[in-house]
Symmetry: C2
Subunit: 219 residues, 2 copies
């Protein structure tokens, strides 16, 4: 009984994700779905990205959290449009939550929409929300066994940001193993090594975004 | 439609968890359900715990991972019984998985059974498996906002191990805020600050286990 129920939930989700995607395309928007374990650095990456790009492109953010509005408050302080979704227990964002959140955002006025998912290395990767790209962050403090243990997110992402590289001298993580195992799962994955806290290695990431933002390229 | 389905899944899970619990009680076993985000240090804590206690009490381990058998191999090297459950995509262990894994373990020969859940700060806390206590680990590298953002696991755990305290000089995490917010959610939570890597602060944890192991106390 369980498997058909889950299949129906995923199919209903995919259908609404297609509607979101049409809306995004009509408005010529780049949409990124940002995923990671709790505390890997999604919100700090977003803060750095907004600081670097907000004078060049118009950015909107949807924050997904089980509870609290602290992440949306952090982003709103940077002067960009931020909407908080509280999932009230749910471990991931789905296309219906995004569909409803879009009513709170002036989509035509944006060039880039970033959706920060719930902190969870498993479930968010299963649910399309209409994004152009899935982006994942792995903190080096999580260890080098994560690609093989949680392969789905690595297989579906376009970019892997390996974060907190400033902590490498104090831990035992082998970044080359992370690279090797990630590319074994997904040979097309683009990998950037960064420290969001120390603002190190982020320029390649900022350029990656700009070169995929339709309204920036057409300027 | 969705909510009744989820309620039925949780009720079916709880019923089988009760059966597991009866089996554990009949055999006078202490059973711990160990949960955390990916990479917070569950397996390393288990390695340290087995090293410290295996000459005093008889320990068995059930390892839960989406894929790979690497954690069970790490534990088996320590000379204790270890069974690996691969959830094949599922983001948590449930009571049915544990029920089937128990066929592979000689329960009457054990004093302590530790169930290492899938790395996920959300879903594992929703599913009883028949354990005596939920134990959670939070790495200081995950940040001090986690209790308020992921309250369920904090509210249901008996012990919170705050791990990787050796990294505190290199990050911005406020351990007092973690303590304060965790106790605000769950005033009965016992909190130990440890570094599994540096083997720091673990004696209190080892004693916590021994004083709750029925067969050790009755010696």
């Amino acid at each position: 009984m369980k498997i058909p129920v889950i299949r129906n939930i995923l199919e209903a989700n995919d259908q609404l994700a297609e509607i979101n995607k049409i809306l995004f395309k009509q408005n010529n928007l780049l949409v990124l779905n940002l995923m990671s374990s709790p505390g890997a650095g999604k919100t700090t990456l977003l803060e750095r990205t907004v600081d670097a790009l907000k004078d060049t492109i118009r950015i909107g953010v949807i924050e997904g959290d089980i509870q609290t509005t602290s992440d949306a408050e952090r982003i709103a302080k940077k002067g960009v449009a931020a909407v908080q979704i509280n999932t009230d227990g749910a471990c991931h964002l789905d296309s219906k939550m995004i569909y409803h959140a879009l009513k709170e955002i002036d989509i035509p006025s944006l060039d880039l929409l970033v959706i920060e998912n719930v902190g969870n290395l498993v479930c968010p990767a299963e649910f399309e929300v209409g994004e152009d790209h899935k982006i994942m962050i792995l903190s080096v403090t999580e260890g080098d066994d994560k690609p093989l243990k949680y392969p789905l997110m690595f297989s579906r992402s376009s970019v892997l940001l390996i974060n907190k590289i400033d902590l490498l001298p104090y831990i035992d993580t082998d970044v080359e193993k992370i690279r090797r195992d990630s590319l074994g799962i997904n040979p097309d994955l683009e990998i950037f090594e960064v420290s969001c806290r120390k603002q190190d290695g982020l320029d390649t990431w900022f350029n990656w975004i700009l070169h995929r933002t339709p309204k920036y390229k057409s300027k």
